[in-house]
């Protein structure tokens, strides 16, 4: 059956939706949706066609928007995003994951909420903020945010989350308890001798390898990493990349050994693509070797960055890969990164890119 390829784009000024067919040569664009609120993450559930958008408006607080008709109409709920009285309130919803009939939401200040009724009401997963390290969590440049939620595809009780700046945490019991999963990741901004703490790493993004739930890839403030044991021990895979710094990571939808990063020039050097030349870096061997993918991307005077949730792959046989810049351009490749083109431009700052492939 023919497919519709949907790109879900979260921006500083609302949600946008791009669409193409399987050829992915021509794209239509519609938006902004969600009242042009700042939207940090947009996901789609291909099984139902439902789109969820997480964001926060400075006036009215955190919300998750929902559309059952590919963006034509939306509902919104901020119901239940409550921390205990006296604590700083939830400012914004930052990340989403739908799995096993539940919708998880990561928020700022960092915490995790879950909805069992498809995003109408949210409940606080209190155990995460009860972690003994909580007092030491500090905001990164984007705030103290829970930005990555990685559910286990087969085991509903297993879930990984990542917080900047606190690190990676894992639950094996459905959220009753979380344990840190940061061994081997460097907190390079700490003094010598203190760079491998149990928590406090500035993780920027984690993603799961296709068909291999024990393998995660991580972009960190200082380094790129892989684990093959659910996060018990991370190993550096940054050798061969132009920098240790970047934000997004994307896993190939079918090949557990293929992963993509977009290294930037450095944390204190401007945070744009090195030398003003854009490249996505791909490894076909789980991070042992790297290839720069530049064909069709600007190779002079490009001074954009790509934020932590702004790169994604689709799940077609020849995978498409997409990334959005903080200068509002969305690039796409329909051949796994070998060649690139512009999907949309002149958008607001792009916070996130996700895909949803549904039957036409």
């Amino acid at each position: 059956m023919a497919k519709r390829v949907i790109l879900l784009i979260g921006t500083k000024k609302g949600t946008f939706i791009a669409e193409s067919d399987e050829g992915r040569r021509e794209w239509s664009l519609k938006g902004p949706f969600c009242d042009a609120w700042p939207i940090n993450h947009v996901i789609g559930d291909a099984a139902t066609g439902t789109i969820y958008a997480a964001g926060g408006n400075e006036w009215f607080g955190p919300s998750v928007w929902k559309s059952h008709d590919l963006g034509e109409t939306w509902t919104r709920s901020g119901n239940g995003f409550n921390y205990p009285e006296g604590e700083d309130p939830v400012k914004s919803a930052w990340s989403l994951a739908k799995s096993h009939g539940r919708l998880h939401v990561g928020v700022e200040p960092a915490g995790l909420f879950v909805s069992g009724d498809d995003g109408e009401k949210f409940e606080h997963v209190e155990s995460l903020r009860a972690h003994p390290s909580r007092e030491t969590w500090v905001p990164g440049a984007g705030g103290l945010i829970l930005h990555s939620i990685v559910p286990h595809p087969d085991e509903p009780d297993q879930l990984w989350v990542a917080i900047s700046t606190a690190g990676v945490f894992h639950t094996a019991d459905g959220g009753k308890m979380f344990e840190a999963r940061n061994k081997g990741t460097r907190a390079g901004f700490m003094p010598e001798g203190m760079q491998y703490p149990e928590t406090g790493q500035c993780v920027h993004c984690i993603v799961m390898a296709a068909g291999r739930p024990d393998r995660l890839y991580q972009q960190n403030h200082t380094g790129m990493y892989r684990c093959d044991d659910g996060g018990e021990q991370w190993v550096s895979i940054e050798e061969g990349l132009p920098s240790e710094f970047g934000f997004p990571a994307a896993a190939h939808p079918h090949d557990a050994d293929t992963v993509y990063f977009i290294p930037l020039n450095g944390a204190i050097e401007g945070r744009y693509v090195p030398d003003g030349k854009a490249a996505v870096w791909r490894s076909r061997d789980a991070g042992d070797t790297w290839t720069a993918l530049r064909n069709g991307l600007p190779q002079e005077n490009a001074f954009f960055g790509v934020l932590r949730q702004a790169m994604a792959t689709d799940n077609l046989d020849q995978a498409g890969i997409y990334f959005g810049t903080n200068t509002g351009t969305l690039y796409g490749s329909r051949d796994e990164g070998d060649t690139w083109g512009v999907v949309a431009q002149h958008l607001p700052v792009i916070h996130s890119v996700e895909t949803m492939v549904i039957d036409a």
Binding site: D35, N57, E58, W59, F60, G61, R76, S77, G78, N79, F81, N82, Y83, P84, E85, G86, E87, D88, P89, V90
Partner: protein, 94 residues
Amino acid sequence: MRETSDSSCEVVLPDALLRLYPEAERRLTVSAADVDALIDELNQRWPGMGTCLRDSRPSVRKHISIMIDGERSALETKIAPGATVYVLTAVSGG
């Protein structure tokens, strides 16, 4: 029109909130002794509106101003009968 009583006040809602609740009235009459009770009443009429105006501390949201007689109010601020209450979206939030 709602029946008014001695403790009723007039409330004026902002455009940005009306975009989220298009069925809400821009000007309405509410019976409430203080701002907290006023938000409860608004939330009862339009479920979810309460969380737009009041956070979990609990407090009036940082970028919302609720003005009574020209003064910015807190949740515990009393509302005199006949007062006009303006709910405003702060310029800082735009």
